[in-house]
């Protein structure tokens, strides 16, 4: 029994989506987390709440709104001008947009908590040593918050690999473009192809276990280094 058809294509697609999503979520999430960690105003609380929404809402709510947003009555109209495509749904770009929205809270929450734990003191000390704000952030605050950031990024990555409801609703199940591992697994189970389903499901269990284990070991090690 070999590896079933289409699995490698879906695997590559899921991994690319998770990589791109994680990078974008970190690029957006870290500045956001920094801003939120040092804000005391009411709008910081509002922003935190809004950013947490995707964590609490069912993915189908996000999927439903994205389906409308990406279509010709939303961003799709803009896309039509730029690319000639009437919609952003059913594309890798559309999946990235949805996945970033879903993964951002993991990065922000974890990194924000790390920044808050580090506190202002190390940065202020760096200032007294005449470091510029950017340099203080880059060489002091960020390295100290790295374990939190890493945890957030890894969870965002793993979550994107496991995302189902959202990508089902905006993907359209196109092989090589939007048929991710989780969707392929669903197709296999529903059509009775359980041999293929076992490959994917088993692989995902192993993957999830490895991710959690590696994360735990890495955090322990970082904690030891910090101490």
């Amino acid at each position: 029994m070999g590896i079933p058809d289409g699995l490698l294509v879906a695997l590559r697609l899921s991994l690319s989506l998770a990589c791109v999503t994680t990078v974008i979520a970190v690029l957006i999430g870290v500045p956001l987390a920094w801003w939120l960690a040092h804000g005391r105003n009411w709008w910081h609380d509002v922003a935190t709440s809004v950013l947490t929404l995707p964590l609490v809402l069912p993915p189908t709510v996000l999927g439903f709104y994205l389906l409308i947003l990406l279509g010709p009555s939303g961003l799709g109209a803009l896309a039509a001008h730029l690319t000639g495509r009437p919609t952003l749904a059913f594309s890798f770009g559309g999946l990235v947009l949805g996945s970033v929205l879903a993964a951002l809270p993991y990065v922000v929450q974890s990194t924000q908590a790390a920044f808050e734990t580090v506190g202002r003191k190390p940065v202020e000390i760096a200032y007294t040593l005449r470091a510029s704000p950017l340099r203080a952030f880059w060489t002091v605050a960020l390295p100290l918050a790295a374990p939190g950031l890493m945890a957030g990024a890894v969870i965002a990555f793993a979550h994107t690999i496991g995302e189902f409801g959202l990508v089902l609703m905006i993907g359209g199940d196109i092989p090589g473009q939007t048929r991710l591992l989780s969707i392929l697994l669903f197709d296999n189970v529903e059509s009775g192809d359980w041999a293929s389903a076992h490959w994917i499901a088993g692989g995902m269990v192993v993957f999830a276990f490895v991710v959690i284990l590696v994360l735990r070991l890495a955090q322990k090690r970082l904690a030891r280094q910090a101490a």
Binding site: G71, G172, D187, S191
Partner: protein, 257 residues
Amino acid sequence: MQPRARKTPSSRPCRLLFSVLAITLAPAVAHAEQARIAIAANFIGPAKELIAAYTKKTGDTIIPSFGSSGQFVVQIEHGAGYDAFLSADEAKPARLIQDGYGVQASRFTYAIGKLALWSPTPNLPASEATLRAASFQHIALCNPDLAPYGAAAVAALKALDVYQSLQPRFVMGMDIAQAYQFVQSGNAELGFVALSQLHAHPVGTVWLLPQFLYPPIRQDAVLLTNGAHNHAAQAFLSYLKSPEALTIITAYGYATP
């Protein structure tokens, strides 16, 4: 102020507990008058109307679940407590009987589905010419491995000899309801749906595909072994064959056997 006849502190939780018990035990008591029925997504429209009419007539409770036929077969084979199954094809009920999940000789065709191409997009009429011209980005259908209407759409496209050229533009829903939703939301310009789904939404143009392009979608119902002694399930299946039910079914664009 002296509170009169004040409830004891425990009366509220007690009543709550009683209500919960009443709700959970009720189905066991009234088992004969309640049936859970798995219904293929293309039949949502008529099913709701049929259930309303049947409930009014008998007082029985019919609890419908809607989804793709393939999904239901997997659920039934793994102990889902449905009493009857209205499939979108004839193969799945036959297989369920063969494997011991369906009651022998309970299978019958309740409707014959009609495949339609629907385009709400202006300047893109639903027609054979549009399929040949392929002047669109996305055409929605349901997954042919999961849903009979998807298989019918693929058969029709192959008969028209446009399957190869259109395949890259396919977007697939897991059931016919999702294929419809892709078109309705405007993300796909057109799509293959069940004629019954267009009952309420005459926006745009519809091409009813000629029957010779695809094998007839004979939709069979079956009484499941789980509901073998469920009177409501049996009565509802019989009701589907009544002239009143057939009128509702044909009104939604199905043929009847």
